[in-house]
Amino acid sequence: MSYYLALKEVWRNKGRFLLIASVVALITTLVLFIAALAEGLASANREYIEKLNGELLVFQDGTQLSTTASRIGRQRIAELRRVEGVEAVGQVGFTTVKVVPPDGGADINVAFIGVEPGMPGEPPVIAGQQIERERGNNVIVDEGLVARLGTKVGDTIRLKVTQGTQEEFYDLNVVGITDRRQYFFQPAVFAPLITWDKIRPDSSNAPNAELVSNIAVVKLRDPASQAAMAKKIEQEVKDVEVADRRTTWEALPGYAAQQSTLTTQQFFTFFIGVLVVGGFFQIQTLQKVAQIGMLKAIGLSNWTVSWTAIIQIVTVNAIGVAIGAIGTLALTSNFPVTVPIMLTGTTAFASVLALLAIGPLGGIVSVFVLLRIEPLRALGMA
């Protein structure tokens, strides 16, 4: 009975219900877009750190997990390697340089990351081979760069570095490609640490000075012992601060602020959705008071009447969400890679679930109103 009435009413008032479904569709699009943007920005920022093949990151003490402020030298690395329970340690350095596109377009900024071949920090390739040599011009690039430049294994890329007032150019051989490992919104180029140290700007290193990187990546023998090992390392190695990957990326500049802004926006959009949908159905319900009184008088139960409303609100809402979600998927899949929009299965799924809750949430008030309509109304009483 409820299904019959609910669907008949929707069907016979297609225009009105389509209108509200399209409002839901627009809200869905907006929520998914914000979700995709949040996800896209977040991963463009943290991808490299998130995918690191080591559980802990070691920073210079007092640098508050800043990869730019922190300095870790060979000495510390040696000490780290001696800590019981540590399987491997890799030195990692970050800087930003420009890549000159072969076809002469504008230079693009890349994260230039120095890693120790074979050690934690060097990403695994999905094409070509690892860096392997401690020195020389072999580099790995991430798919972010491939997407922008179409780089292939065997290509040469040209880096442009500004040392003081002078521009220097370095040609590097791409020996391997890794999946997307952007860092700080930039595609990544991975070079042997020694090469990185030579190329990076502001390398004021005197010859023979200790090889200094920004951080160390530690791979543990037992990944489950993360928290205990972090403490242990801080105790046994002087002047270091240890964090896990999540803590590190959450401390990236602007990361937390950006994410909470976007989450707030998402929440408000969702909230607006609840109000709009709830308001629409509330107005509908108020217009139907006489009709509902009559239906209750002739024998329809409270349950039937409420269920009818719930079916309508859920159906119309779901149709709106479906239209919006499909539309957004179609749209986002056509965005250029440079736009940080990323609709992953989980974020999309979570958002869609939340959006589907708009209907029931918005409908609660209507259902209460429906429950309180007296059948006596049919006789002009009550």
Partner: protein, 265 residues
Amino acid sequence: MIALEAINVTKIYGTGANAVTAVNDVSLSIRRGEFVGLVGPSGSGKTTMLAMLAGLLKPTHGQIIIADKDIGRMSEGKRTKFRGQYIGFAFQANNLVPYLNAQENVELLLRLNGKLNRQSRQRARELLERLGLGDRLKNRPGQLSGGQQQRVAIARALIHEPEVVLADEPTASLDTERAHQVVQTFAELIHEQNRAGIMVTHDLRMCKYTDRVIQMMDGRISRVITDRREILRLAGAADELDGHAAAVNGVPVLAGDPLVAVKGI
């Protein structure tokens, strides 16, 4: 056979100083195949009585028996179900579901009682044809005239073969000619289908289609007319006075009514 019985029914609204006795110790019974008109001045308790007979309102005292059940004692849920099964309704207005067509509105009661099948649909169609709506089956209420809507309501009140059929001012929004048509067919169907019918009306002319007229006054039954000639005389007098004029200050003027003397008519 008695279809509906009210035994010493009283309804008091409110409590203490604000208490209003709308219906005061009323007993009545209606047989199958009998069509009763309920009349009386405004505020005399007609609607209150009808609401109790319909199982829409619990009496303060007394019993209302339909199909051997005291509907005053039923829980809210049970009474709702009972109404759907045993009672047919035709209200003054807002009778029909606006998004269902004539046929679907009538079938609603069959659907509600799980009796919707080929035969019953056929019956619904025939009933609507009988009521002169054969070419309006697929029209929604918005596309029907007031009289047509009330006829659909009558079909709906009867289609599920209820024990009792209740009508509350069913002709209030119709012109005289339509009102006669509607009530006449209503009476015919009640007699044919052997239902117990009650109609509350202000229009005494409509009483000519009823078998008994019950007049209420201050919450009590003040008069019952069963004599056919007496009923026709009442309706005829009302007719000459153009129906509503027969109700002076809402008090129906009956031949030999002591009220006539009181009001000085």
